[in-house]
């Protein structure tokens, strides 16, 4: 197959497993090494466009690799032009990749979303009370939001973070009371983490905490915020 782009799935430390599974569109998986690092890729005539099926296919490849070795997952759609470019990437960023691989070794990512109940705001039902004082209304609203996010941190984040190696708040959460975070959890603590999520669900009334995983450590591939 003479593809024109190399689609990269993951970077790993000296990979010794077999690459049996196929990649996107059934393309065979290949590995290329530079020093202590390897990149797993497949060749394609054109860069694959994301759709639900291909997103899961990418995920499947990365999860399969994760079973046999320590890896850093690539973002969907990461392509390079040639094997030389791929080797160059491994060479150029060796230090960063080695450090990141070490940081995620033996751990997986768990995703947590929760929706805390938003208490009925009595002020909302009596707008006239603060129409004359917009500044007060603003401060009250701010305090309410602040309080809510502290609640989430206190009630959900803290007990979960205690079981995690590290965590990353995930941006883009919608309405008040919404909570979203990623946790890097030791493999042996995954079960305990799931149990604690269950406990949270049974102890926090009107709050749904959902946890998915184990995921490859997508949210923990680099140390510095991007």
């Amino acid at each position: 197959m003479s593809g024109s782009v190399l689609y990269v799935y993951a970077v790993s430390g000296s990979f010794s497993g077999s690459l049996a599974a196929a990649g996107l569109h059934g393309a065979p998986l290949r590995a290329i090494a530079d020093g202590p690092l390897e990149a797993i890729y497949s060749e394609h005539a054109v860069a694959p466009e994301p759709d639900e099926k291909l997103l899961w296919a990418h995920e499947q490849v990365v999860e399969d690799l994760m079973e046999s070795t320590n890896i850093l997952p690539m973002r969907f759609g990461s392509t390079v032009e040639s094997r030389e470019a791929l080797v160059g990437l491994l060479k150029e960023r060796r230090e960063e990749f080695m450090a990141s691989l070490e940081r995620v070794r033996g751990a997986v990512e768990l995703s947590v979303r929760a929706q805390l109940p938003v208490a009925a705001d009595p002020d909302k039902r009596a707008p006239s009370a603060w129409q004359s004082q917009p500044g007060t209304a603003y401060l009250l609203e701010r305090a309410r939001r602040q309080h809510r996010s502290e609640d989430a941190a206190e009630l959900i984040h803290r007990p979960l973070a205690a079981l995690a190696r590290t965590s990353a708040p995930k941006p883009g959460v919608g309405g008040p009371g919404a909570f979203k975070a990623a946790y890097l959890v030791d493999e042996e603590s995954v079960e305990a983490f799931g149990e604690r999520v269950g406990e949270l669900n049974s102890t926090l009334a009107d709050t749904k905490v959902s946890c998915t995983g184990p995921w490859p450590p997508y949210s923990f591939v680099s140390e510095a915020p991007r």
């Binding site: 997103l55 969907f76 995703s111 493999e187 184990p214 591939v221």
Partner: protein, 107 residues
């Protein structure tokens, strides 16, 4: 010292085996068409999109989906997004709105 090492090795071996057993169990569930251990299918889809399009190692300069283009990618994923909009609403998460959630994860 060597006792410590032997213990550590035994522990690692035990951990590895437990992990593989969990993996095996999860694979079986997948084969049965059931979502993974902790997964709920629709929430998984949200998390999948969130991770694969906003997380992971980025190849600077060579990447097809630059961070700034993620919104465009989402336009191309309308069908996918439509199917999860209900969940977003129910869960109060904003994935499709203006896209701040996709401008890269904090780490």
């Amino acid at each position: 010292m060597s006792v410590d090492r032997a213990q550590a090795e035994r522990r690692r071996k035990g951990e590895r085996e437990a992990w593989q057993a969990r993996r095996e169990a999860s694979r079986e569930r997948q084969q049965q068409g059931v979502s993974r251990a902790l997964r709920d299918r629709d929430v998984s889809l949200l998390d999948l999109v969130d991770r694969l399009l906003a997380g992971g190692v980025v190849i600077h300069g060579d990447i097809t989906l630059a961070v700034a283009d993620v919104d465009l990618v989402y336009v191309g994923l309308r069908a996918l997004i439509a199917s999860v909009e209900t969940i977003e609403r129910d869960m109060g998460v904003s994935l499709t709105a203006t896209g701040p959630s996709l401008k890269g994860s904090p780490l």
